[in-house]
């Protein structure tokens, strides 16, 4: 199938997985128009999750982070503009203005402009060197600062804070983790949160709960003194902040696109201007499974919504209707969560023969909302398909470790030849000849 026409121009703005996936899906969908990629970073679209894990440990290269290899963009015939920032969208004329004054005309536009780290807002913050982890530059800047550091204060008990704590404590840094609430990872429920906190405590991380930062100061040793609202002060050589992210909507908002906690898109990733699609962290999209709108900062969202946006560019309809999922690697724990846990009234635990492998299933009434799996990838994979397929699962089945969840799933037929084989020629003689003539 061929979509678009040879004179049509599509500009993709972004430097993450959503941008890469938009290009891939559009080309696979048969889109033949010109494609340009504008990215304000110096690297081709890359994966951000390793920035707080493997890349921070220093055992991976920049190229290892790439979402698709450079040949991919050549094969897709994409005009790549790296290190260039889009500063304005003119929807009337149809062009994107870059920071060097160049105008890129478009017939279709894709926004995969992501989110930025939420900045901590306390007195004297501007005098203190703080480190955020959002981009490659952030991660490399932090790595350089860690060369002369021993004690690290991490502000924030979300995924970034926990993964960074795990990566650094295993490199023999002394870690103090400040958590504003009464548990780490507020989205996963108290049982999983307690389990994770215990893992961090066992590895030597000092976890301070209900720690609200009131003030930051530079110490005489060029470190950071963090004063909490209860008067306690904690010192560190380096302070890392991971307190969430804010969607980058300014470009879209200034162009008159509808935004509300992200760029508003429909299930086909179309914005309020249907020539413009958006995907990834920057969007606020409808989740037709849950009947509500979500803004997600996950790889899954970037990739799957990017695929939808790419298909829309190619003139195909591939609605984004999936249960969200996320993963996190900390120490020897692989946490995988699928679904949206908010509003559950029943939590059941599915155990296994191993203490460090179990899953929490969260229900509202009889309806499964979410599952959080600790080192149980097979359960995670099955639950994701159960949720996406809206297959009923009773709490009694979920909790029963002997109940095979994959039995609920349709088994794919793997040996299917599309055409019948030609009949065999008739045998010339008997099949078996016994004895000797």
């Amino acid at each position: 199938m061929v979509a678009g026409n040879l004179r049509e121009r599509t500009v993709v703005i972004g430097g993450g997985q959503a941008a890469g996936q938009i290009i891939e899906a559009a080309r696979k969908g048969g889109y033949v128009g010109d494609m340009s990629l504008v990215c304000d970073e110096s690297l081709l679209p890359y994966q951000r999750p390793p920035l707080s894990k493997q890349y921070l440990k220093g055992d991976r290269s920049r190229d290892w982070l790439l979402y698709r290899f450079p040949e991919f963009y050549k094969k897709c015939d994409v005009d790549v503009h790296l290190g260039r920032r889009a500063v304005e969208i003119d929807r009337n004329v149809g062009f994107v203005l870059l920071d060097d004054g160049e105008r890129l005309p478009y017939d279709k536009l894709a926004l995969a402009i992501g989110a930025r780290s939420r900045r901590i807002d306390v007195p004297s913050v501007e005098t203190v060197p703080l480190y955020y982890i959002r981009s490659l530059v952030d991660s490399e800047r932090l790595s350089a600062a860690l060369q002369n550091a021993k004690k690290i204060v991490i502000i924030g008990g979300g995924f970034i804070g926990l993964e960074t704590a795990a990566a650094l404590v295993q490199q023999d840094f002394e870690i103090v983790l400040l958590v504003s609430g009464s548990q780490v990872l507020p989205t996963v429920g108290p049982k999983i949160a307690d389990f994770l906190m215990d893992q961090h405590l066992a590895h030597g991380v000092t976890v301070v709960l209900n720690a609200n930062v009131a003030k930051l100061d530079r110490t005489t040793q060029n470190g950071v003194a963090v004063t909490l609202d209860d008067g306690r002060t904690l010192d560190g050589d380096v302070a890392i902040v991971g307190i969430g992210a804010i969607p980058n909507v300014e470009l879209a908002k200034n162009a008159g696109l509808e935004c509300d906690d992200g760029i508003l898109v429909d299930a086909l990733a179309r914005t309020s201007d249907h020539r413009i699609v958006a995907a990834g962290d920057c969007t606020n999209h409808p989740n037709l499974h849950l009947g509500l709108r979500l803004r997600l900062e996950t790889v899954h969202n970037a990739v799957e919504q990017g695929r939808t946006a790419g298909c829309t560019i190619a003139g195909l309809e591939h609605p984004y209707i999936q249960s969200p999922w996320v993963w996190s690697d900390q120490y020897n724990i692989r946490l995988q969560s699928v679904g949206v846990a908010s509003g559950y009234d029943l939590s059941v635990r599915r155990l296994s023969a191993h203490q460090d492998r179990y899953s929490e299933f969260l229900f509202r009434g009889d309806r499964l909302l979410a599952a959080i799996c600790i080192n149980q990838p097979q359960i995670f994979g099955a639950v994701r398909r159960i949720l996406n397929g809206r297959i009923p699962l009773a709490p009694s089945e979920a909790v029963d470790a002997s109940f095979d969840l994959t039995k609920l799933l349709e088994r794919a037929q793997t040996v299917v030849f599309d055409h019948p084989w030609p009949p065999r020629p008739p045998r010339r003689g008997p099949a078996l000849i016994w004895g000797f003539d």
Partner: protein, 190 residues
């Protein structure tokens, strides 16, 4: 034209002995419960005594199946972390286990159920066409050990290769051609 390595499997010769399965497990130290290669019967089951038809007109064949190293590899397209990718120089679909996050999107996308997963961290595993062996002009372990010489491996874009000659001389087809993945395991008629 760059090389496109592929398997040609003669269903007339395959006797379902599983020697290839064992060779694959030994070559890659594949743990219990996981697989890179399976031999299925014509119903897609791992059982071997279920002929089709009515006596005496019975027939049965076996289908060795592994990663089909598709040209339009759906697994690589579905992978959110570039764990799976297709090598440009020979068309082999490779897997970098370090990047795998255990999401199993590849398994959902694969039309051939060719990917298995580690029980604890969920990392994916699949046939690499014995990339380490073919780098040294060797052949994949399954092709080496097959006692009936049913499994052939080579460049299907090279008209002088044995696989090309087999394809030119025998009726053949791929599994689930309609899925559009352009798989590179060609089966010769049973």
């Amino acid at each position: 034209m760059s090389a496109q390595m592929g398997f040609v499997i003669d269903l007339k010769r395959c006797i379902g002995c599983d020697t290839c399965v064992i060779a694959c497990k030994v070559e890659h130290n594949v743990t219990t419960g996981r697989f890179r290669l399976k031999v299925l019967d014509s119903h897609g089951e791992q059982v071997f005594e279920k002929p089709v038809g009515n006596f005496p007109n019975l027939s049965q064949y076996w289908v060795p199946t592994m990663c089909h190293h598709c040209v339009e590899a759906p697994c690589a397209s579905a992978c959110p972390t570039n764990t799976l990718w297709r090598r440009d120089d020979d068309g082999i679909v490779m897997l970098d286990v370090d990047k795998c996050i255990g999401c199993q999107r590849c398994a959902e996308a694969c039309p051939y159920d060719a990917i298995s997963f580690d029980e604890v961290d969920g990392s994916a595993d699949k046939c690499s066409a014995c990339a380490h062996r073919i780098a040294g002009d060797g052949r994949p372990a399954c092709a080496v050990v097959c006692p009936t010489r049913a499994i052939h491996f080579g460049d299907v874009n090279d008209p002088e290769s044995k696989v090309s000659k087999l394809l030119a001389s025998r009726v053949h087809q791929v599994l689930a051609e309609g899925k559009g993945a352009k798989p590179q395991i060609y089966y010769l008629e049973p």
